[in-house]
Symmetry: C2
Subunit: 318 residues, 2 copies
């Protein structure tokens, strides 16, 4: 079954979604004045994909990146806008702490909600969502030619954006972006947009800052992955300073998830899982009662190799 025919020859690039976070917002490393994600060629000198990525990100940001995982590989034909050769992009998600980007590199850290304003629900549903997106998607659903397509569109829109009273699911960031793309509501859609908006009366509203190529889609993929991951792996700590208060930790998680959490229950969760230990120090600049400082208990990375099982296991082999 293996083809011995000549294999296609193409270019491969590595592309990084580097995430940092502070109490206010998650931040991502960008280039080109915030319009692109950092990317570089996959050179043959690299031992592996991941080491290739580490090499050039660290070279450019002079900043060790802690946690790195492969995100997704993209290769749709219409990815490159008029490029000569087909390219494969292998994307990675990396977690670090924000350090000033060396200005000569053209790199800068940006609030990720700048690109996805509808993803931030910490203060409730943002205006852009209720006033622009919801009506635009409903209109888009109506313009489908076939009845089943209309139903399919409105159903997808309802699920992704909780249009019919469903609970908001913060992990659907990719589906939401793809829906806006299909509906021609983001400028990246380009040609597709005109077709999708054929029946629309108004021009495309501005939904967040666009990016070059499909970088915003890749970023949405990274957001979805990270939002899912923080729930079952202690990766948030890669984004935290060595010592932090529980409120600081909660604020970072809230920033990533784009949702508010119940303070006492959040603390109980962290405590029960023994994710942190006290440093012994306190910090007073909290605006209220001084808070204890904690550090991540690195040991859990070894101990709790075990993830949460959901299968009703049988204790004894029957």
């Amino acid at each position: 079954m293996r083809e011995s025919a000549a294999e296609a020859t193409l270019a491969a690039e590595l592309i990084a979604v580097m995430v940092a976070a502070n109490a206010t917002a998650p931040r991502i490393l960008t280039v080109e004045d915030g319009r692109a994600l950092p990317s570089g060629p996959f050179a043959s000198s690299h031992r592996s994909l991941q080491s290739g990525l580490r090499a050039w990100v660290e070279e450019r940001t002079r900043h060790p990146l802690g946690y790195v995982e492969q995100l997704y590989t993209f290769a749709d034909r219409d990815r490159t806008s008029g490029g000569t050769r087909r390219a494969i992009s292998i994307s990675y998600l990396g977690l670090t702490r924000e350090a000033p980007a060396p200005p000569e590199t053209g790199a800068s850290w940006q609030d990720w909600y700048r690109y996805f304003p509808w993803e931030d629900r910490r203060e409730g549903e943002p205006a852009v969502s209720s006033s622009l997106i919801a009506p635009a998607l409903r209109a888009w659903a109506k313009t489908a030619p076939a009845p089943w397509a209309r139903r399919e569109r409105s159903e997808r829109a309802a699920i992704a954006f909780s249009l019919s009273g469903q609970a908001w699911n913060e992990e659907f960031s990719l589906q939401r972006y793809e829906l806006l793309y299909e509906a021609g509501l983001v400028p990246e859609a380009g040609a597709a947009a005109s077709a999708a908006r054929a029946h629309a009366t108004s021009p495309a509203p501005s939904l967040g800052t666009p990016m070059l190529h499909d970088h915003r889609r890749i970023l949405a993929t990274g957001i979805a992955r990270l939002r899912a991951k923080i729930k079952y792996r202690p990766v948030v700590f890669e984004l935290m300073p060595p010592a932090f208060t529980l409120l600081e930790l909660q604020l970072v998680v809230e920033a990533l998830a784009g949702m508010r959490l119940h303070k006492q229950n959040f603390r109980r969760l962290v405590a029960r899982q023994e994710l942190v230990e006290e440093t012994g120090a306190m910090i007073a600049e909290t605006g209220g009662r001084p808070a204890r400082l904690f550090r991540f208990r690195r040991a859990v990375l070894r101990e709790r190799a075990a993830s949460g099982t959901k299968l009703p296991l049988l204790a004894q082999p029957r």
Copy 2:
């Protein structure tokens, strides 16, 4: 930050981990007499990676593949054994039902535990694990030069193979294979093996059937992904016939997980999530009381877009 230097040119191949299952064992589609996973070049005629994969798998197996998802992209330099050019392999996980493989294609379905005998714990710990693997890994840990390396090795081995009383985690199939590879206990390790076993007195024991290149590693990746996925997405049903009994469903899940499940609790789980509905028919050839036949409720794919939240959400924005 974007490099404008010439990008590396390389070949890309698609490689499939096609999984089916019966009540006894999960099965995977292989070529080359069971020694390789089906793979093919990523041709420029393909619209996207996924459509390229679908195209040639369906062409060869004449079999529609239902669920397909991207697995991982491999590109380590020492992947290809002496190949001329560097290759990138983009692997996919696909779920189907087993259909006789057209013999002219050289394809065949194989029990996946043939390649990973230590992964099947349905009848308790298999002999190969306790009698071969455990002692070999302990010995390997001892041969590390530095004390910290010895501790690191034995700790990793203990977690992956539950050597110190930890609960077995079926999702660690990849880590287990990688450990055996590092320890030179699988023939694929090749050159690395001799170094790792420098101090061993006996030759490498035979641990499962080997595969060409790094295909067994890719298969282990697929197993890990599938074992994790069945816990939070209703993907098992892609492997089931149109109608099935609850025991059949359970046996397939057990085959995939390599572990026994508690029957009543498994049924309760399926019932509570409303994953299935009765067909109305019964089947008598069960060896006991006749069983009801069920079918998958496809509607859940839309309804239950919501996955399980673990974050202690706050109902009202404060």
